[in-house]
């Protein structure tokens, strides 16, 4: 079984209150040194068998049409999962 990974992140210029809150919380936990935190989404799309070029193409379509909102998010990458 193969998996296509789609990464989606909020556009850099768009406010990311979620990432901000995480950044604050890390500071309070004493884990500092991170200048900014941004939180996005990661989708794992499973396919039967190998990840083919065609499956990647479908995943790219999914990423553009459904998995991301182009007004506020960027699709960062669409790729076959490296074997763990």
């Amino acid at each position: 079984m193969g998996t296509v990974i789609v990464d989606v992140m909020p556009k850099p210029e768009i406010l990311d209150p979620q990432g901000q809150a995480v950044g604050h919380a890390l500071g309070k936990l004493g884990i500092d040194g991170f200048t900014e935190v941004r939180q996005g989404k990661r989708f794992a799309l499973s396919v039967d068998g190998e990840v083919t070029e065609e499956a990647l193409a479908r995943a790219r379509e999914a990423a553009e049409r459904l998995l991301s909102n182009p007004v506020i998010e960027d699709v960062v990458s669409v790729r076959a999962e490296a074997d763990a």
Binding site: K11, E13, I14, L15, P17, N69, V71, I72
Partner: protein, 763 residues
């Protein structure tokens, strides 16, 4: 970035003929000329940014001002008695007795909600809540009148779920109960959905805060979220002008709300007010710092000096022009005396809200903005905030109107016999506008704060203000855009009448009005005529009912190409209740109650839900407006409620008596048996008109049988037309029985009524 690129006042004086992109910023040649005249030189690019945004239609009301004046002019001294703050402030404030005041206002966020439904609607809620906070009030509840294109249009499946989730996502997270609103579907809103949001808040009358910067030496403090490049699309032309070599960095096309930041801002602001450390306050909404600084200074008695480079930024590449125009959310600006500053900052610290002293109130008469050492803005604040251009746009009654009004419902085939009437009732109950709205309303928290006495689907939302006495307010918003299309003057009055009646059905006394006027382009004389008619109708109506307009909002340019939306003057009415626990619900919860119809029924089907749903027809003249009858009706309901004679009361509107009866049955699954004989006889209407006419000033009241006589006597004493229709409850499975016509079970009514929105979205 170096100061070399910043356009300063000195540079402007030294380089008077420099070309400026005023047209790209939406200014007209004569407007630009006037700015030069006011300043006696060309504006700096920062000044140009400020004037262009503050003189926009949205901020300056340049096309609507001449008409809106009527609201003030038609407010009589008597109406003013309970008005603590009227039009002109962030929101109006009304005295509700016992030392309590309430403030409420309705605003639009139409276009942003079309572009990005979730965030557009969310930030719309955020904006109106800040307006209410800026009066010194604790926000109590929100409402959301919404209008979308056809329910079965694919784009509605994009816009509707996003808008509803956004309103819920923001309002729920703020801890404000949603207590009502509207959902209307009509293809005229396809490219221009209307997302209006209302907020109501309460405060002690002596705690009112105003947007005013006075007292030389007082500090100007910006607090809340950091400033980013939100909502500054247009001003990038200035940025590119300033940075000839490097193009402007990318600016967000939509604003993203942070409801958590706003919730903290609410609690923090209330603590600041309670500590007495705030002299003046203004929220940052449209036009951001340009608006807040110029309005505060303009309302005060001196000048103001602000150090723009101190504004905490989310994006360090912002230029001074962009910072002035940014519409980043969740920010407020306070005027604080120097001796209060420490206390102020202690409170913002406690809430972990960033607060920055930007400058101070001066004894001059100019608003001066510095970018490091350079003076980039030096203007008379009034000229920016209040003395913008005013237009008397041409008006013309649309040519299509005669034909539209002539094309009335008399030509339409009417249902035949009991089965036909029954079928049309089920069609209305299952139509997008008539169906059960729980899919929408269950996404909103109606319980938070524990003060909600009534909410959807009751006729009005009711919230408690005073926990000791139970004193509270009732609120309803309404507008039938079809009526307004047929006759905008009457349409505005019908919206007022319906909201007023909805408030009255709860047993509340209507007190005040806010409005959100959604129209097409003011540059179209036909639209401008509709607007003028609607404003005049509303102002006249308010005067007649004795309820002042306390504030509101105008949204123009709701049109696609040459086609404008139906004129949609949404009217919100606020009423006061002595004890909210005693208010009337809209459906009966017991069998054996006597059912009465208050008011007179005429044959009025033009513009009705029946014509729209059954025949897709719009034409004729809307129902007759009778404000005297509305006032009498409200008086009767108030007296009967106070006397404890009312079990439930439900206003008749879209779908007439038939739909009101069905909704009454569905509310608690208790049937009703009624006869139309009395109505036929007294009002001279047939069964069809009795059931589906939309004559105004009518309410269906359920009265405990032991109070029936007293209720009839009270109506007689008030001069109120009243007719006994029947009783609630029926044998066997609960049903609606219209004697001699038809019978329909509650289960069948529910099947038609529910799941309509879900089904449309799922397909």
């Amino acid at each position: 970035m170096t100061a070399v690129h910043v356009d300063t006042v000195a540079a402007a004086s030294g380089d008077p003929d420099r070309e400026q992109p005023w047209a790209e910023l939406g200014l007209r040649a004569d407007e630009y000329a006037r700015i030069r005249e006011i300043l006696g030189r060309r504006p700096t690019s920062s000044e140009l940014a400020m004037y262009s945004v503050m003189w926009s239609e949205h901020c300056s009301y340049k096309s609507s001002k001449v008409h809106l004046r009527q609201f003030g002019e038609k407010t009589t001294d008597q109406m003013r008695e309970q008005l603590l703050v009227g039009i002109g402030e962030n929101a109006g404030v009304v005295d509700i007795g016992e030392g309590w005041a309430v403030t409420f206002k309705i605003e639009s966020h139409n276009h942003p909600s079309y572009v990005e439904p979730y965030q557009g609607a969310a930030t719309g809620v955020g904006g109106i809540v800040r307006d209410i906070m800026s009066m010194g009030a604790r926000p109590l509840a929100v409402m959301d009148p919404l209008r979308f294109g056809a329910l079965d249009h694919p784009d509605t499946a994009r816009v509707l779920p996003g808008v509803v989730a956004g309103i819920g996502g923001y309002g729920n997270c703020l801890g404000l109960p949603n207590i009502g609103g509207e959902v209307v579907f009509d293809s005229c809103y396809q490219g221009n959905p209307l997302v209006n949001a209302l907020c109501v808040g309460a405060l002690r009358a002596e705690d009112i805060h105003l947007a005013k910067a006075s007292g030389t030496g007082n500090k100007v403090v910006l607090f809340g979220a950091r400033t980013g490049g939100d909502g500054i699309g247009g001003v990038s032309v200035l940025a590119s002008e300033t940075f000839e070599d490097a193009g402007p960095s990318k600016r967000p096309s939509v604003q993203v709300g942070d409801p958590f930041a706003e919730k903290v801002l609410i609690e923090c602001s209330l603590e600041l007010y309670a500590a007495g450390v705030v002299d003046g306050i203004q929220d940052l909404g449209g036009a951001g710092l340009s608006c807040a600084t110029s309005e505060l200074a303009s309302n005060g008695d001196g000048g103001m000096r602000v150090q723009l480079d101190r504004v905490p930024l989310r994006d360090s590449s912002l230029t001074p022009e962009e910072i002035l125009m940014s519409e980043s959310q969740e920010r407020m600006m306070a005027i604080v005396r120097p001796e209060h500053l420490e206390g102020f900052l202690a409170i913002t610290d406690r809430w972990e809200v960033e607060a920055t002293v930007l400058g101070e109130v001066t004894d001059g008469d100019h608003l001066q903005v510095y970018w490091h050492d350079d003076l980039v803005v030096d203007v008379p604040p009034r000229s920016v905030a209040h003395d913008g251009p005013v237009y008397e746009r041409p008006l013309a009654r649309p040519g299509y109107l005669d034909e539209l009004q002539a094309h009335n419902t008399r030509v339409l085939p009417r249902p035949v016999g009991g089965p036909g009437l029954r079928e049309d009732l089920l069609a209305l109950l299952g139509s997008p506008d008539g169906c059960d709205l729980s899919w929408v309303t269950q996404q909103y928290d109606r319980y938070v704060r524990g003060n909600t006495a009534r909410a959807m689907p009751d006729d009005a939302g009711v919230v408690r203000v005073d926990e000791e006495t139970g004193r509270g307010v009732a609120l309803a918003t309404d507008c039938n855009g079809r009526f307004a299309k047929l006759d905008p003057y009457a349409g505005a009055q019908l919206a007022l009448a319906e909201a007023y009646r909805n408030v009255a059905t709860t047993g509340a006394r209507p007190l005040a009005v806010s409005d959100c006027l959604n129209f097409g382009s003011p540059e179209d004389p036909g639209v401008m005529w509709q607007f003028a008619q609607a404003v005049t109708g509303l102002a006249d109506g308010c005067q007649q009912l004795g309820v002042p307009v306390t504030g509101g909002n105008v949204s123009f340019y709701n049109q696609t190409g040459d086609t404008a939306i139906h004129p949609t003057p949404v009217v919100a009415v606020l009423g006061v209740v002595d004890d909210v626990a005693d208010t009337n619900g809209s459906g009966w919860s017991l069998p054996g109650q006597s059912l009465y119809l208050l008011g007179r029924t005429r044959e009025e089907l033009d513009g009705s839900a029946w014509a729209h749903v059954v025949h897709a027809h719009l034409g004729g003249r809307p129902p007759r407006v009778d404000l005297a009858a509305e006032e009498r009706l409200a008086g009767t309901l108030l007296a009967a409620s106070r006397a404890g004679l009312v079990h439930s009361a439900h206003d008749l509107s879209a779908g007439g008596l038939a739909v009101a009866l069905a909704e009454g049955v569905l509310r608690h699954d208790i049937g009703a048996t009624v006869s139309l004989a009395g109505l036929r006889e007294r009002d001279g209407v047939d069964d069809f008109a009795a059931l589906f006419s939309e004559s105004t000033a009518r309410v269906l009241v359920a009265v405990p049988p032991e109070h029936a006589e007293a209720f009839e006597e009270l109506c007689a004493a008030e001069g109120q037309e009243v007719l006994a229709l029947g009783t609630t409850g029926s044998e066997g499975p609960e049903s609606l029985v219209v004697e001699g016509a038809f019978q329909v079970s509650a289960a069948e009514l529910r099947t038609a009524h529910s799941g309509v929105i879900e089904a449309a979205l799922a397909s």
